[in-house]
């Protein structure tokens, strides 16, 4: 019993990380049709700069952590918005080229991070409470999992509220539904593009800081490894669907944890098999509106 609780909550924590990456990917794809390979780099740069700030403030206090998270989100948003503005926008509606540019950016940025911060992982110091465990139903659960879950739920709520109750949220939802119609109504949908990139980048940058707490270190490849699972999550959840991304994040991460524990560390393979199964039974994903 205690093992199951532990696996479930750890899975939820990992799912929270996946969601922070996948939410941006899914929104960007839904609105613009861009598969963003550079999303992992937004996460990595958010994590690196977030921790640089935290280290200068103080080591391991809650204030430093809050500053790191804020910085990570802001840096992620800025880098993402700049990417959209300087690279993606020039290739408006040329989807393959847009993907290629993000691929190039991902390769170049990871190399640059390695040049600046080195190839070895940088270990981070977080508040001591996060390193301790709490006992629930006999399972000793690392406290950082709870924080991951809380932050991801807050981010989900914030994005949903933004999409539901603001004018730009309305434009984005309408754009995901039918971009041509939004443009025809005289609304400049391109400003929404930058905005979506910034939101996705902020979530990813925040996710970067949290991922480095989860793993205990930051490295140039932290984003790339999460990105692949985020891709799988977005496909399983249905491209362009935020709710689908949230559900699929949890499903994928929990499945991964259980397979890792009970089937001899085959979590990654189980996830790919799940992807194949979903594609065979329901090619547009769990909640995807279109193929």
């Amino acid at each position: 019993m205690s093992t199951i609780v532990l696996l479930l909550i750890t899975g939820l924590g990992l799912g929270a990380l996946y969601f922070l990456v996948a939410s941006g990917l899914s929104l960007i794809y839904g609105l613009m049709g861009v598969l963003n390979f550079a999303h992992g780099s937004f996460l990595t740069i958010g994590a690196f700069i977030g921790w640089e700030v935290a280290r200068r403030l103080s080591d391991g206090s809650w204030w430093a952590l809050a500053a790191a998270m804020l910085t990570g989100a802001v840096v992620g948003a800025l880098v993402a918005a700049a990417t959209e503005f300087f690279l993606i926008r020039r290739l408006y509606n040329r989807h393959i080229e847009q993907v290629l540019v993000t691929v190039g950016l991902a390769l170049a940025s990871v190399a640059l991070f390695e040049g600046i911060w080195g190839t070895d992982p940088t270990y981070v110091t977080s508040p001591s409470w996060l390193g301790q465990t709490t006992e629930i139903l006999g399972a000793r659960i690392p406290n950082n999992r709870f924080m991951l879950i809380v932050v991801a739920v807050l981010v989900l709520a914030a994005i949903v509220l933004f999409l539901k109750f603001t004018r730009y949220g309305l434009i984005i939802r309408a754009g995901v539904e039918n971009r041509l119609m939004v443009t025809a109504l005289g609304i400049d949908v391109r400003r929404a593009f930058t905005l979506v990139f910034a939101i996705g980048g902020a979530a990813a940058g925040l996710g970067g800081v949290l991922a480095s707490i989860y793993y205990g270190y930051v490295s140039a490849h932290i984003g790339g490894s999460l990105l692949i699972f985020a891709f799988i999550v977005t496909v399983i959840g249905g491209l362009g669907s935020l709710a689908g991304a949230a559900i699929a994040s949890v499903l994928v991460a929990v499945l991964q944890q259980f397979a890792n524990f009970y089937l001899g560390g085959t979590g990654d393979l189980a996830v790919v098999l799940a992807l194949a199964a979903v594609l065979l039974l329901r090619p547009r994903g769990l909640l995807g509106a279109k193929a």
């Binding site: 049709g33 393959i96 170049a108 040049g115 790919v272 594609l279 279109k290």
Partner: protein, 368 residues
């Protein structure tokens, strides 16, 4: 009136002359400082050139997918790795007593290529159920799974992180050792020429025309009664088999293989190569592979040089990362040079080049 360069006879003559030059290269003493590490007869240069040619063969097989069929796959490294690891594992475990040593070697290569084909058919049969961007992500997921399997070292066969070393007991002596780099060079050239000819044949075949038609306008192809699934699957399988062949030769050349070739990053490198050379052109893929490999090798040498070490940090850090320079170069090519390097000389556009507009239209149709 077609110019003399566009006539088939001239093209065949020029290609033959180029192949002949490449054939003779190990016997000549040509040094191009800054491009090759030494004169062309030295093992170091031959090794580099052979490596570049195998990457070119791999890029050509990727061109079948991306250039001809318009399928943006992120999992092609899987089949290359299947070829390299497959041959290594087959050579170690497959030694029937009734076959002479040479025949065992040939049989092992054939089995490896077959493995590549079957694996590609399996992966393709699932991933081709979706198109466009979803297809890209699904192939990426499969490649990631392959990478995980290779690293996990199932049954002690792949060697995990350390990689696999070639078991030479069934390999002909002429293909073993530094002294025989020349033979490995010729082998790589033969693989490249063979792959080129197969790709040419596929492009000119019925299947090639059908798959090019579905790339240009899938809806229209469906309307006239073509079902793209099976012909795409066939192309996917052939590309997988060719990649496995290149992988098998890669194992022989390097006398080993590391899990690096199974990573999705390696596929991204391939994509960079094909786009750098020019999408949709066979020799664009070859040119891209040669330029990329030489640049990568030279930039790595440059990164470790005294000159770079003395620069201030702001210049030193980016310049000491070859992938940073190559990635930036790639972005610039995508932004400003849509036809790639080959496009520089192909001004005016050849009729069989896939037009960007039509591919966009295809994606738009999917979206609506």
């Amino acid at each position: 009136m077609r110019s003399i360069w566009a006539r088939p006879v001239t093209k065949i003559a020029a290609s033959s002359a180029l192949v002949l030059l490449m054939l003779l290269l190990p016997l000549l003493n040509i040094s191009i400082p800054g491009v090759f590490p030494g004169p062309t007869y030295t093992p170091g240069t031959l090794q580099l050139l052979a490596y570049a040619m195998l990457i070119a063969a791999l890029a050509l097989s990727y061109h079948l997918l991306f250039g001809l069929a318009g399928m943006l796959s992120f999992g092609h490294a899987l089949f290359f790795a299947a070829g390299a690891y497959g041959l290594g594992i087959v050579l170690r475990n497959f030694s029937p007593s009734w076959l002479p040593a040479g025949a065992t070697f040939v049989a092992a290569i054939l089995i490896t290529v077959l493995i590549g084909f079957v694996l590609a058919a399996l992966v393709g049969s699932v991933s081709l159920r979706v198109t466009g961007i979803s297809f890209a992500m699904v192939t990426l997921a499969f490649a990631q799974a392959g990478s995980v399997v290779v690293r996990r070292n199932p049954g002690g066969q792949t060697g995990g992180e350390e990689g696999l070393t070639l078991d030479v007991s069934h390999v002909p002596d002429a293909l073993v050792g530094v002294l025989n780099t020349r033979n490995l060079y010729w082998l790589s050239l033969a693989v490249l020429v063979f792959v080129y000819l197969v790709v040419l044949w596929v492009e000119k075949s019925r299947a090639g025309h059908v798959v090019a038609a579905t790339r240009e306008n899938e809806q229209r192809a469906r309307v006239i009664g073509i079902r793209p699934y099976f012909v795409r699957l066939l192309i996917f399988g052939i590309a997988g088999a060719l990649a496995a062949l290149a992988g098998a030769a890669f194992l022989l050349l390097q006398s080993g293989v590391s899990p690096r070739v199974a990573t999705p990053d390696f596929t991204l490198t391939l994509l960079v190569i094909v786009v750098l050379g020019g999408v949709g052109l066979r020799w664009g893929a070859v040119l891209g592979a040669i330029v990329y490999t030489l640049l990568d090798q030279r930039l790595t040498a440059l990164a470790g040089s005294e000159f770079i070490a003395r620069l201030p940090d702001l210049l030193r850090i980016p310049l000491s990362q070859p992938l940073f320079i190559l990635g930036t170069l790639f972005i610039l090519v995508v932004l400003f040079l849509p036809g790639g390097l080959a496009g520089l000389t192909e001004r005016g556009g050849r009729p069989h080049r896939p037009s960007r507009r039509s591919r966009e239209r295809m994606l738009e149709v999917e979206e609506i």
